[in-house]
C-alpha cells in the first residue's frame, strides 16, 4: 500500500465530485501519507473471509464476559 500522489488525489477528488486544486491535492498527499505508511503492514494481508462485523463479535464477547463476572 503506497501513499497516493498529488496527481492521483486530484483525479480521485474529481471522481468523488469534490474537485480540488493542485495545491490542495499536494497538501492532502502530505497529510494522509503517514496514515497509508502506518497501515501498509496490514494492508493486503487480511484473510479472505474476514468481515467488518467481526469487531462487534469480539466486543460482544467481552460484554458477555463482564456480565457473567
Amino acid at each position: 500500500m503506497t501513499r497516493p500522489s498529488a496527481k492521483e488525489i486530484k483525479a480521485i477528488a474529481d471522481v468523488a465530485g469534490v474537485p480540488v486544486s493542485a495545491d490542495v491535492a499536494a497538501r492532502i498527499a502530505n497529510s494522509i501519507g503517514p496514515a497509508f505508511e502506518g497501515f501498509a503492514v496490514v494492508a493486503g494481508t487480511l484473510p479472505f473471509d474476514l468481515e467488518p462485523a467481526s469487531f462487534l463479535v469480539v466486543q460482544a464477547a467481552q460484554d458477555t464476559n463482564e456480565v457473567l463476572k
Partner: protein, 471 residues
C-alpha cells in the same frame, strides 16, 4: 470564591443537597450564572447563556419539589453541554457557521435521559467546528481559553465542556470522543472525562462525525460524578440500533469498591516514549499512588499502536468526508480552513483502504485484549505534553497541520479505533501550574472497572478538587 459557593460542589453533592432541600435549584443555578458572568469573557466557554430560562426552570423545579414531586436523581441540577446535542426548539450550531441558525427538531437520547433525571439547561458550550479538532481553536467563534492559563488551549473538540467544568461554571457537561475529544480537554483542563465504549450510550440526536468511532460521554469533577451520569445515559435505544442491549452494572456502586488486589498494566512502549519530562514524572507519581492503594503494577506489551493510529485516521477521514460531502460541494467557503482541509483528506482514501481498516478492527481488538488478558486496566498519559499555547498550536491549514494534530492525539486515537472505554483522571500539575491527566484504558464495556480505579485514586489524591483562580 467562597467555600460555601454552591457552584463549587460536585454533581453528586449538589444533587443530594437539592433533593434533601439543603439547597434550592435556584441557589445552585444562580451560583453557576454568577460564575459564568465572571468567567465567560476570559474563557469564551459558552456558545449560549440562557440565564432567564434557567432561573425559571430552577424555580419550577423548586416548586415541584415543594409539592413532593421528585423528577429524578438530578432534580433541579443546572447543566450545559457541548453544542452538538440536539435539543428540540434550540439552536445547535455544532461550532460551525453552516449550522449557525440550525434549530433542532428532536432531542438527543443522552440529553433527554439527563432531562428525565431532572436536569435543567444553563445554555450550550463551545466546541471545535463539527467536533473536528483537538486543540480548542474555532475560526468562527474564537478559541476557548484554558482557565488554568488563559494563553493556553483547552484541548478539543469538547473545548467548552473542559473549560466550563474546570472553572466550575457547570457541574458536568456532555462531550463527545471520536479521536480524543473528551480526554484531551479533561487532560488540558484538569477534569475527569469518560470516553465510553462504542455502543454504550446512544448517539441518536448527537451530531455525527464518524459513525464507527463516535462516542458520547461526560466531563465532570470526579469519577463518581461520571458514574452517576453514565448510569443515567447508558443502554439500549430504539433510535440508535448501535446502542447495545443488555443489563448494565451499577456504576456508582463500583466507585465504592477498593483498588486493592487489582492489576494495572503499564505499557512498555509507545505511551511512554517521547514524553515531556514533567508528564513522565507525573506518570511515575501516579503509578506510585496506585501501588500505595493496593494495586499490583505490571508491564504490558501492547500490539503496535502506530498501526492502530493509522487505521483510525483512515476510518475517521473517510466517514467525516462522507457526512460532509454535500456541504463540501455547496458551501466550502463556510468551513474554517483547517476543518475543510481535514475533510478534504478523506477524499483521497480509496474505498478498499477504508474497508481494510474496518475489517482489521476485529482482529486488532482481539490482539489488544489478548495482550491485556491479565490486567484489569492499562494506565497511560492522555498526551505527551501539557497544554500548549493558543498561539503555538494555531496551525490552521498549514502543510504540517495534520502532523501537529496527529502528534498531539497519538495516545488517544488507538483507543478510538479499538472502541474501548478510557477514563481521564487529573493526576498532577506541571511546575508552571498546568494540569496533567492520565487515562485508564479498559476492556470493551468495562467502564465500571475504570470508574472503580478512578474513584479510589481520587480518594487518595486532591488534583480533581483544585480550582483555577479567578481570571
Amino acid at each position: 470564591m467562597s467555600a460555601t459557593e454552591p457552584a463549587l460542589l460536585s454533581l453528586t453533592e449538589v444533587a443530594q443537597a437539592i433533593v434533601q432541600k439543603r439547597l434550592s435549584s435556584r441557589e445552585a443555578t444562580q451560583s453557576c450564572l454568577d460564575r459564568i458572568a465572571q468567567w465567560q469573557s476570559p474563557l469564551n466557554a459558552f456558545m449560549a447563556i440562557e440565564a432567564h430560562e434557567a432561573l425559571a426552570a430552577a424555580d419550577d423545579a423548586d416548586a415541584s419539589l415543594a409539592k413532593g414531586t421528585l423528577r429524578g436523581p438530578l432534580h433541579g441540577v443546572p447543566l450545559a453541554h457541548k453544542d452538538m446535542y440536539y435539543d428540540a426548539g434550540k439552536v445547535v450550531t455544532c461550532g460551525s457557521r453552516i449550522r449557525r441558525d440550525f434549530v433542532a427538531t428532536s432531542t438527543a437520547t443522552a440529553l433527554q435521559r439527563l432531562k428525565d433525571a431532572g436536569t435543567i439547561r444553563l445554555g450550550s458550550l463551545q466546541m471545535a467546528e463539527f467536533a473536528y479538532g483537538p486543540t480548542g481553536h474555532n475560526t468562527h467563534y474564537g478559541p476557548v481559553h484554558n482557565p488554568w492559563a488563559l494563553d493556553r488551549v483547552t484541548g478539543g473538540s469538547s473545548s467548552g465542556s473542559g473549560a466550563a467544568v474546570a472553572a466550575r461554571l457547570t457541574f458536568a457537561a456532555l462531550g463527545s470522543d471520536t479521536g480524543g475529544s473528551i480526554r484531551m480537554p479533561a487532560h488540558f483542563c484538569g477534569v475527569t472525562g469518560l470516553k465510553t465504549t462504542v455502543g454504550r450510550i446512544s448517539r441518536a440526536g448527537a451530531m455525527p462525525l464518524s459513525q464507527s468511532l463516535d462516542t458520547v460521554g461526560p466531563l465532570a469533577r470526579t469519577a463518581l460524578d461520571c458514574a452517576l451520569l453514565l448510569g443515567l445515559m447508558a443502554g439500549a435505544d430504539a433510535d440508535d440500533p448501535t446502542a447495545v442491549l443488555g443489563p448494565l452494572p451499577d456504576y456508582t456502586a463500583a466507585t465504592r469498591q477498593p483498588m486493592k488486589g487489582l492489576i494495572i498494566g503499564v505499557p512498555t512502549a509507545f505511551y511512554v516514549d517521547d514524553l515531556d519530562p514533567e508528564v513522565a514524572g507525573i506518570l511515575d507519581d501516579t503509578i506510585a499512588v496506585l501501588k500505595r492503594e493496593g494495586a499490583d503494577i505490571v508491564q504490558v506489551e501492547l500490539p503496535d499502536q502506530r498501526q492502530l493510529t493509522a487505521a483510525c485516521q483512515l476510518v475517521l477521514a473517510v466517514e467525516a468526508a462522507a457526512f460532509h460531502k454535500r456541504w463540501m460541494i455547496e458551501r466550502p467557503q463556510d468551513y474554517g480552513p483547517q476543518v475543510l482541509m481535514r475533510l478534504q483528506n478523506g477524499l483521497a482514501i480509496p474505498g478498499v483502504s477504508y474497508l481494510e481498516a474496518m475489517r482489521w478492527r476485529g482482529p486488532a481488538l482481539s490482539a489488544h485484549l489478548a495482550a491485556v488478558a491479565g490486567v484489569d486496566a492499562v494506565i497511560a498519559p492522555v498526551a505527551p505534553v501539557a497544554a500548549p499555547t493558543i498561539a503555538e498550536s494555531d496551525v490552521g491549514n498549514s502543510p504540517d497541520a495534520e502532523a501537529v494534530i496527529q502528534r498531539l492525539t497519538r495516545f488517544t486515537r488507538p483507543i478510538n479505533y479499538l472502541g474501548l472505554p478510557a477514563l481521564a483522571i487529573p493526576s498532577g500539575f506541571t511546575r508552571g501550574g498546568l494540569p496533567v491527566a492520565m487515562q485508564l484504558i479498559g476492556r470493551s464495556f468495562d467502564e465500571a472497572m475504570l470508574l472503580r480505579i478512578g474513584a479510589a485514586f481520587q480518594r487518595a489524591t486532591d488534583f480533581h478538587d483544585r480550582v483555577p483562580k479567578s481570571a
